[in-house]
């Protein structure tokens, strides 16, 4: 037997039918990675169809994990190891496999019937197309059925255990402990003893098989050590989970209950699901009849003194737009989470994109500005939810929080934050009034805004002596009464702009992630492109290129120092998963030329794609000197 190879980082991809339990398998492997102290980043890549016809290419579900003994910034450009549970999974993933990679195939599924389903003319094992790879053939189904016989499961149910068989084998390849997975199976299937037994048997059998079986090629063994990470307590977290917890934390820090109103939509629904389990944290979830009602109910809740939160993806956000305008006009707090996906229209519901930036910043009727903030990864979602809520309450405004399909579902290790280190979230207290105050004075007090933040007191039904009326018709700046006065409308419009602009005074200055604060080239990104940009800039710098990385969190307003900072570079390269929306925003707001690197394939950027672009731009920047 060969010795395990030490890997600084390695990318593993599991692929099979959407009913094969691929996501579960991947999730469990990620857990075992976490417990071993390695850093990791995962990327679940599943089809829009729930159960597409078995064996077809469009029914392939995949889970990719990049694990390493160093900081892991992305789910990896190309897999080093692919485990393909059927021919369709092999066909779909083969184009992304680099030469020399290891491919494990489940030979039980390699038959004419499945080739036909996947539109494969000839068995790829015989055509030579796998010559550049190290192919390991394992009859996973046969082995699983054999191993699970004592469980008493039907053949159909027994076959379902094959993901755990595969996991058993992979755990051996990586020298990981089986015990945590066994503990998980015991708990998860406690009420179904036969399935529990079957899964445990499959897991053990896969593990033993990997160690002892004589295979077409020997199974490689890898040793991925612990990554240097900050000291402390960790857990694994997806973006959706972190957002849910962040929203609950914002409620706790503000000492206000949360009403979340949503409507099912991919990939935003996960947030509704997680939040609906956080009742004890003062979070109530309302599944509304549609996207519009969800936004309206959240605003109704804010009018009523709870923190209203709504969430959707692009098409749903479009429907909420009119209601968001009302929240702007009535100066009520509202958190709007957009889990962006490929579009337009239904587009690519399960694939990622960051193409709703225009929608968030510009996408309303009339002059209706709102603050916009974006999460840069799953581990960032918690803090971003707190910050966004803080701004909403401080300035009494709707706030857009942008995340995307990738962040929503991707997982990584997360240093559990210390709640005591977060500042309380202040809200604008209602005015203190005397019984003797005249009604006109009461009205003025209700609309007396904080001069720094332009947030008005959060007055709501149930507060004595403060009954007031408000609506979407333009209101007098000081009394709140309906006003069609021309000068007043100008003043109110100015106020709405000044309010959003004032947010810049409260957010951190823009910092440089890597590189110097001046130079020939800066790569400027936002949102979930953080990982690949970070890695690409690091690699470019290791090659000796003078390039800096800037990642913008607050997109409206920009941090006050951003214009000056960006003007310090000769060239600005903006990679984004859209056709150049941040690039437009920078040209609009800062009036400097920028160059776009765009990608709208439904897949995150590869490090290599950005690195290549950096090399090209840095080369030109050098030549121009």
């Amino acid at each position: 037997m060969t010795k395990p190879t030490d890997e600084i980082s390695i990318v593993v991809r599991f692929a099979g039918d959407s009913g094969d339990g691929i996501q579960l398998l991947g999730g469990q492997f990620a857990e075992s990675t976490a417990l071993a102290g390695s850093d990791f980043s995962t990327f679940p890549d599943f089809p829009a169809e729930i159960r597409a016809p078995v064996g077809t290419t469009f029914g392939v579900s995949a889970f990719q994990i990049n694990l390493g003994a160093r900081r892991i910034a992305t789910a990896g450009d190309a897999p080093d190891v692919l485990i393909a549970f059927n021919p369709a999974a092999l066909k779909v993933n083969l184009p992304i496999m680099p030469k020399g990679a290891t491919i494990i195939v489940n030979t039980d599924e390699f038959n004419d019937r499945n080739f036909a389903k996947a539109n494969i003319e000839r068995d790829p094992r015989t055509t030579g197309e796998l010559n550049d790879f190290r192919v390991i053939e394992i009859p996973i189904k046969t082995q699983t059925l054999e191993a699970t016989k004592p469980s008493g499961l039907s053949k159909r149910d027994a076959e379902q255990c094959k993901n755990f068989w595969g996991l058993g084998a992979v755990l051996w390849m990586f020298g990981r402990d089986r015990a945590p997975v066994e503990a998980w199976i015991n708990k998860k299937f406690a009420a179904k003893p036969e399935i529990r037994a079957g899964n445990l048997m499959a897991l053990a059998a896969g593990n033993a098989y990997a160690e002892t079986a004589e295979l077409s090629a020997e199974l490689p063994q890898y040793r991925v050590g612990a990554a240097p990470m900050k000291e402390g307590e960790y857990r694994s977290i997806t973006g959706a989970e972190a957002l849910a917890l962040g929203i609950a934390a914002a409620g706790e820090l503000a000492d206000k209950p949360i009403l979340f109103a949503g409507y099912p939509i991919t990939p935003a629904s996960a947030l509704l699901h997680y939040l609906s389990r956080l009742g004890e944290l003062g979070v109530a979830t309302f599944q509304a009849e549609d996207e519009i009602a969800a936004a309206c109910a959240a605003i109704g809740a804010s009018f009523g003194g709870r923190i209203g939160v709504t969430s959707s993806s692009g098409p749903g956000i479009a429907l909420k737009t009119e209601a968001i305008g009302l929240a702007i006009a009535t100066e009520l707090p509202l958190l709007i989470v957009n889990s962006q996906r490929g579009g337009p229209s239904t587009g690519l519901p399960t694939k990622t994109e960051q193409s709703d930036l225009y929608q968030a910043v510009y996408g309303r009727n009339a002059d209706a500005p709102v603050p916009v903030v974006a999460a840069s990864g799953p581990d960032d979602c918690f803090d971003v939810a707190i910050e966004a809520t803080r701004v909403a309450l401080r300035h009494m405004t709707p706030v857009f929080l942008l995340t995307d399909g990738y962040i929503q579902n991707a997982a990584g290790p997360w240093l559990i934050p210390d709640m005591d280190k977060y500042e309380k979230i202040e809200s604008n207290a209602p005015p203190a009034l005397a019984q003797s105050d005249a009604p006109a004075d009461v009205k003025r007090a209700i609309w007396k805004r904080n001069p720094e933040t332009l947030g008005r007191p959060w007055v709501h039904p149930g507060m004595n002596g403060l009954a007031y009326r408000v609506g979407g018709i333009e209101k007098d700046m000081t009394t709140g009464d309906i006003s069609y006065d021309a000068a007043n409308h100008q003043k109110m419009t100015d106020l709405r702009f000044a309010k959003v602009a004032s947010v810049a005074k409260f957010i951190p200055s823009q910092h440089v992630e890597q590189g110097s604060e001046k130079g020939p080239l800066a790569v400027v990104g936002w949102g979930s492109t953080m990982g690949p940009i970070w890695r690409a800039v690091e690699a470019a710098r290791n090659e000796g290129l003078d390039v800096a990385q800037i990642h913008i969190r607050w997109l409206n307003p920009f941090p006050s120092n951003l214009p000056e900072l960006l003007r310090g570079y000769d060239r600005i390269l903006v990679p984004e998963m859209n056709m150049g929306q941040l690039a437009t925003l920078i040209r609009d707001r800062i009036e400097i030329p920028v160059e776009s690197l765009t990608k709208v394939s439904g897949q995150p950027f590869k490090i290599g794609e950005i690195l290549e672009s950096i090399r090209a731009h840095a080369g030109v920047a050098k030549a121009a000197e």
């Binding site: 976490a34 417990l35 102290g37 945590p180 612990a226 000291e231 402390g232 307590e233 960790y234 857990r235 694994s236 917890l245 609950a248 706790e252 209950p257 009403l259 109103a261 009742g279 004890e280 944290l281 003062g282 109530a284 309302f286 509304a288 009849e289 549609d290 519009i292 009602a293 309206c296 109910a297 605003i299 109704g300 809740a301 804010s302 009018f303 009523g304 003194g305 709870r306 209203g308 009119e322 305008g325 009302l326 009535t330 934050p417 709640m419 009604p439 006109a440 709501h460 039904p461 149930g462 507060m463 004595n464 002596g465 009954a467 009326r469 408000v470 609506g471 979407g472 018709i473 009464d481």
Partner: protein, 336 residues
């Protein structure tokens, strides 16, 4: 404890801007009187409206008020009621706002049975946009958008509400203040979504569209005021409603010497859903139009009660985020 508030206390300092003679004025007065009669607390009362003439209503009520966007008042009201179930919430809407652009939300607020009152001012026309036909306009309504007469078949608001699963359905007339106040009080007392259709005369764009039913001299003949446990009589007791088992329908019959005996007349049972459907559907001129509380079934729990019973901690924060963060599998990184 402060002295109970008067009608005057529920008026605001805002100039009421409906057209002179608009039925909305009478409804406003009736609602203000209802509030005073109920001893309502203005700080615990909120009027929520959409868009349209009727939806200006909150500006004229000295309570909390939210004038929202077209058709969506039920959704805002649901959010408000969930945010604070202590608040007495009234939704003000119209036939266009509630049954056209907002039909979906009206359906859902009713089926969920959110504890609030819905007043739908039905004038069978779009007033604020200058007179286009509405979803309750009768076929043939001539309007700027239907110069040759409308062809849409209208919706009957009370039948819609019942169909949506309403547990409380009532009807009234803008200027018939006394019975309207009684109906509104009954709606207020009901725990759940109470739906009240109010015939409202649009003096400018659809003048007297209900005159055949509401005018004093025909009211007795063309309306029937239903009351639980009482015979369904009208026209001063000379006519009544009888159930015809052969047609499975109601029929108008004369009562007394030239007609049937009073014991043959149906007795109103407000908990009978089938009867409620028949009563809602009665239209002039074949039938008298049913007024008052047509249907009331207090057996179902309200949505807000069920919602907060379902949220185990009643919305109170009993747990700590710090603890929730540590759910699941944890591992510790040591220095070095």
């Amino acid at each position: 404890m402060n002295a109970p508030l008067t009608v005057k206390n529920f008026e605001t300092d805002q100039e009421v801007r409906w057209c002179p003679g608009c039925g909305d004025y009478a409804i406003l007065k009736a609602v203000q009187k209802t509030m005073a009669d109920l001893g309502a607390e203005k700080d615990k009362t909120a009027f929520v409206s959409g868009i349209g003439c009727s939806s200006r209503f909150p500006y004229y009520m000295n309570t909390y008020g939210f004038h929202t966007i077209h058709g969506r008042a039920p959704a805002f009201a649901t959010g408000l009621k969930l945010a604070n179930p202590e608040i007495d919430v009234w939704v003000v809407t119209g036939d266009g706002d509630g049954l056209s652009i907002g039909g979906n939300h009206l359906l859902h607020v009713i089926r969920r049975n959110v504890d609030l009152q819905i007043m739908l001012f039905n004038n069978e026309i779009y007033g604020l946009t200058k007179g286009q036909y509405s979803p309750t306009s009768r076929v043939g309504t001539r309007s700027p958008s239907s110069p040759k007469g409308s062809v849409d078949r209208p919706v009957n608001p009370c039948s819609f509400a019942l169909g949506a699963g309403a547990k409380f359905v009532a009807r009234g007339v803008d200027t018939a203040t006394k019975p309207l106040i009684e109906t509104l009080k009954a709606a207020h007392a009901f725990k759940g979504a109470s739906f009240v259709e109010i015939f409202q005369n649009c003096i400018v764009y659809n003048k007297d569209v209900f005159a055949g039913v509401t005018e004093k001299k025909v009211a007795d003949e063309n309306q029937i005021h239903v009351e639980h446990g009482k015979a369904l009589l009208f026209s001063g007791g000379k006519k009544g409603l009888r159930f015809n088992p052969d047609t499975f329908a109601l029929e108008v019959v004369a009562v007394g010497d030239d007609g049937v005996r009073e014991c043959e007349i149906l007795v109103h049972n407000e908990t009978n859903r089938t009867l409620a459907h028949l009563l809602c559907e009665m239209a002039h001129p074949a039938f008298p139009v049913a007024m008052g509380v047509i249907y009331r079934d207090p057996s179902a729990s309200s949505f807000d009660d069920a919602f907060w019973a379902h949220h185990a901690t009643q919305g109170k924060r009993t747990g700590k985020v710090a603890a929730a963060l540590r759910r699941g599998r944890l591992w510790t990184k040591k220095a070095g």
